[in-house]
């Protein structure tokens, strides 16, 4: 090692130490509590309890059904999108991929706006028929629907991102060898997409298995997942030990799926989630019948995916007295029922402040770490290990993190309970792996020859970094910052533990309003969801712009 390279190690040691304190310590505290006084017999009781197996079983069935439905709905449209140029192609893509960045609370609110006794579907039925005919009860149906809505974007992104690399010539040569278009899809396109489909299916399964916000808001009282159960055990029953033990199981399940994912789909793991989309492989359909069929299919998808989002807007602006801004102006009033003690609009401002802080934390800790991992000193042998450690927050669900935070930092001797730092730090932890994985490929993608060329032109390493590397990764860095910002804005699982009653963030406020009866509370929830929807849509548009330039 050159003597000047010693300080480079600070680039990973500082974020590593931060991770140790803010991530490892809370998680280990959770486990220490779960193990405290829990001998073998107690663990046996837990491992054979109906609580564990009911939760696991229902989670497994729910995730399998959700994944199956998601694939059934996502694959046809992904393949149409890959193959053909359809009118309104860009809009369809936006509509199908937007849910990917939407906070779970907004998706859940979208289905609350549709489903349930006060939902749009019921409201329309009552208006048309005059009396309610179907209850639209919370439970399996809205949960699966919301999961499909949310995860189609994942499959669509991964499959079209992967498929975009397939050259038209491969499909055309199959045509020239005498296969009909359907045969080409079945015999060439499908097998080539298989790693991406498999990889996407595992990711979707993982999301649905660990689903928290959607199940909490739409599942009624009977549905559960590990994350929801951890929350219920903590908040409703104060069974800290059960919660902690469940979290150990949850962690193991996540690691198992992540491991499977890495082992079974190495090809697809390199797909960038935000990249410029290539054109269609085959261009416009030839026959007018084909065009009509494809346009019809796309319209059906557009309506299906636009509906929950449109429902939020309709419910936010349509009061019992007609269209208006009543619910929005109600956000400025501090109500006498004192749900928050402050004006609800404060939650909006606070959320934005927290998101800025979380993005700033990601930048200050994540960027040096990415820089180090992209170009480690040649003597450093632990690059893969350090990288793996930095990705660990992906494996822990935000719910465990939140639980860990209150168990660790809200008690003596480290009492951060009243600190403004807690929420932004937890958000930064959740966003950290995403930030890293967005910046790192860009940094690694800079060819060495460019750095060498800069050096031969007389640039010092620092000057070369500033003039060559930084401009080349500028777009990715901006994208990573916006992503971190948006993750923080929508973060629900960790915040619900950490946020104190009088200082809620936007998603927590939406949740609390939705849990309260009354038309005004429901309306306010919809108005806030509309604001959050607007913010994330704006961020998404910027990301898409950047994606096209990258």
């Amino acid at each position: 090692m050159k003597p000047s390279e010693g300080w480079l190690h600070l680039l990973w040691i500082v974020p590593g130490a931060g991770l140790l304190f803010w991530f490892a310590l809370p998680i280990l505290t959770v486990w220490r509590i779960s193990l405290q006084g829990a001998d073998g017999a107690q663990w046996m009781r837990f491992l054979t309890s109906s609580l564990l197996w009911h939760t696991l079983g229902q989670g497994f069935v729910q995730a399998s059904v959700s994944t199956l439905f998601t694939l059934t709905i996502a694959l046809p449209i992904s393949i149409i999108w890959l193959l053909y140029d359809v009118t309104g192609r860009k809009w369809l893509q936006v509509l199908l991929t937007l849910p990917f960045v939407l906070p779970t609370v907004v998706v859940a609110a979208g289905f609350r706006a549709l489903w349930g006794s006060e939902g749009l579907l019921n409201r329309l039925l009552v208006e048309w028929i005059g009396f309610p005919t179907f209850e639209f009860p919370y439970g399996w149906a809205p949960v699966i629907l919301a999961h499909v809505f949310y995860n189609v974007s994942v499959v669509f992104r991964v499959v079209t991102g992967y498929g975009g690399r397939i050259g038209a010539d491969v499909l055309e040569s199959a045509c020239c060898l005498g296969h009909s278009p359907l045969g080409v899809v079945r015999r060439v396109l499908f097998p080539m997409l298989r790693p991406a489909i498999f990889s996407a299916a595992l990711v979707v399964f993982l999301f649905c298995f660990g689903s928290f916000g959607v199940v909490l808001l739409l599942g009624g009282s009977t549905m559960t997942t590990l994350d929801v159960e951890i929350y219920r055990q903590t908040v409703y029953f104060f069974h800290m030990r059960s919660a902690a033990q469940l979290s150990v199981v949850q962690f193991c399940c996540t690691l198992l799926v992540v491991f499977l994912h890495r082992r079974l789909s190495p090809d697809a793991s390199s797909i960038a989630l935000f990249q410029s989309s290539a054109g269609s492989i085959l261009g416009r359909p030839r026959t007018s019948r084909g065009r009509a069929f494809l346009t019809g299919t796309c319209v059906v998808y557009a309506i299906g995916f636009g509906l929950p989002l449109a429902a939020i807007l309709v419910q936010a602006f349509r009061t019992s007295t007609g269209w208006g801004f009543d619910y929005f102006s109600a956000l400025l009033a501090n109500d006498s029922d004192a749900l928050f003690f402050v004006e609800p609009v404060d939650a909006v401002i606070r959320s934005l402040q927290i998101a800025c802080l979380a993005a700033a934390f990601c930048l200050t800790f994540g960027f040096p770490a990415a820089q180090f991992l992209a170009d480690p000193p040649s003597s450093f042998r632990m690059t893969t290990f350090v990288h793996g450690v930095f990705l660990l927050p992906l494996g822990a669900s935000p719910v465990i993190l939140g639980l860990g935070f209150i168990l660790t930092f809200a008690v003596h001797p480290i009492d951060f309970r009243s600190s403004w730092l807690l929420i932004p730090v937890s958000h930064a932890l959740v966003a950290f792996p995403v930030f890293l994985q967005t910046v790192l490929p860009a940094l690694r993608g800079i060819p060495d020859v460019l750095k060498q060329a800069a050096a031969t032109l007389g640039s010092s390493p620092w000057h070369g970094w500033l003039r060559v590397q930084l401009p080349l990764i500028r777009n990715s860095l901006t994208a990573a910052l916006i992503l971190s910002f948006m993750i923080s804005l929508g973060e629900f699982g960790a915040t619900i533990f950490i946020a104190r009653p009088h200082v809620p963030t936007l998603p927590i406020a939406i949740y609390r309003y939705l849990s309260q009866p009354g038309e005004m509370n429901y309306g306010r929830a919809m108005a806030m969801a509309a604001i959050l929807l607007g913010l994330t849509t704006f961020g998404f548009t910027v990301l898409e712009r950047i994606g096209k330039q990258r």
């Binding site: 199959a174 060898l177 097998p191």
Partner: protein
């Protein structure tokens, strides 16, 4: 008997920019036609239209007298070899070659694949994945794959374009041999005229969306129809001359004899091309009665290219002419006076 393949009045534009303006040609059974042209002249588009991958804005393609407008690509029985080979990455070599075989029994299909692999000399690669193949091997697999279903017409789109020069020179003869042995009717697209001449029975030069010239390789090379074609073939010397008699021209630097009759009246101005590879350096004062077309001038530039030397000579009238001469015997130094004799066959007129 009508020709095997007829391409009639094909037009195609992309976003308002014409790629093919009016393409007509016909091809007989068993004939190999090379479409030659600079990159971006519309060669690939033309091939894709014949294959049915692209549809023309106007005009039609007929195969064995039948109009193909309503026949989709997969029903045309036309094979195509793509520039980057387009091998299926999820299948191995054997599966790739077998891909186009429909309606054959398993044994027949295996047998055909074995035959094709043998013919290409790649039996040993049958179980390999396509990403384990070298460029030359991929080319053979691609050719085997497109030939296996016994297409009635084979289209090849720069099939050697992505290979290095040495490999290309070797494979071009192999490819031509295979096509001839099978009696395949083929359209071969390339931008490299040496490759085209090695493969083709006839060459069609495609320029700015039209076929500028079509004929045997020799005719097209020796008698380029336009100055653009001449330049494409490496004729550097384009000069003005005046007709003196049937086979004699007057240029600024002296008289030039041609071996074919010049069309025009004495006194008319014509464009004259002089092939760069047809000059011989002679000693000063050497007078051989066969030495017509003597040119003297100052050597202004000399570039050594291995077996050849590229020289620029400024004639007494100030015109600069370029030639490739053998590197042996060695050429005088720059600044020296040099005497050249040009073969009458290399003096070409009748270009437009």
């Amino acid at each position: 008997m009508s020709p095997f393949l007829e391409v009639i009045g094909i037009r195609k534009s992309f976003q308002g920019i014409p790629a093919l303006k009016q393409v007509d040609f016909a091809l007989n059974r068993g004939e190999i036609l090379c479409i030659l042209g600079p990159s971006g002249c519309g060669k690939t588009t033309l091939l894709r239209i014949i294959a049915g991958i692209e549809s023309p804005d106007d005009g039609s393609v007929r195969i064995e007298g039948r109009d193909m407008s309503d026949v989709p690509a997969h029903m045309r029985h036309v094979g195509m070899v793509f520039q980057d080979f387009a091998l299926f990455p999820h299948l191995n070599v054997r599966e790739n070659v077998a891909f186009g075989l429909h309606g054959l029994s398993r044994e027949a299909s295996l047998d055909r694949v074995r035959q094709m692999l043998e013919r290409m000399g790649i039996e040993a690669l049958a179980e390999r994945r396509t990403n384990e193949l070298s460029g030359g091997q991929k080319q053979r697999v691609a050719l085997a794959r497109s030939l296996a279903p016994q297409p009635r017409l084979l289209l090849l789109d720069e099939p050697l374009g992505s290979l290095d020069r040495q490999l290309r020179e070797r494979l071009v003869y192999d490819t031509a041999d295979v096509l001839r042995k099978l009696g395949m009717t083929a359209v071969y697209v390339t931008h490299d005229h040496a490759e085209a001449f090695a493969v083709a029975d006839r060459v069609a030069v495609l320029q700015s969306g039209k076929i500028a010239q079509i004929g045997s390789p020799e005719t097209v090379y020796r008698r380029p129809a336009t100055i653009e074609i001449a330049r494409f073939f490496g004729y550097d010397n384009v000069i003005r001359g005046r007709i003196l008699s049937r086979q004699l021209l007057d240029a600024d630097f002296g008289r030039l004899q041609t071996d074919t009759a010049v069309i025009g009246k004495p006194g008319d101005e014509v464009t004259v091309l002089i092939r760069p590879d047809a000059a011989v350096i002679v000693k000063e004062g050497a007078t051989d009665p066969e030495h017509v077309n003597r040119i003297s001038g100052t050597l202004v530039r000399k570039r050594f290219l291995g077996s050849q030397t590229h020289i620029d000579v400024r004639t007494d009238s100030g015109q600069v002419l370029s030639f490739h001469v053998p590197a042996c015997p060695s050429v005088s130094e720059v600044g020296a006076t040099i005497h050249l004799v040009i073969h009458p066959e290399a003096v070409v007129t009748q270009v437009s």
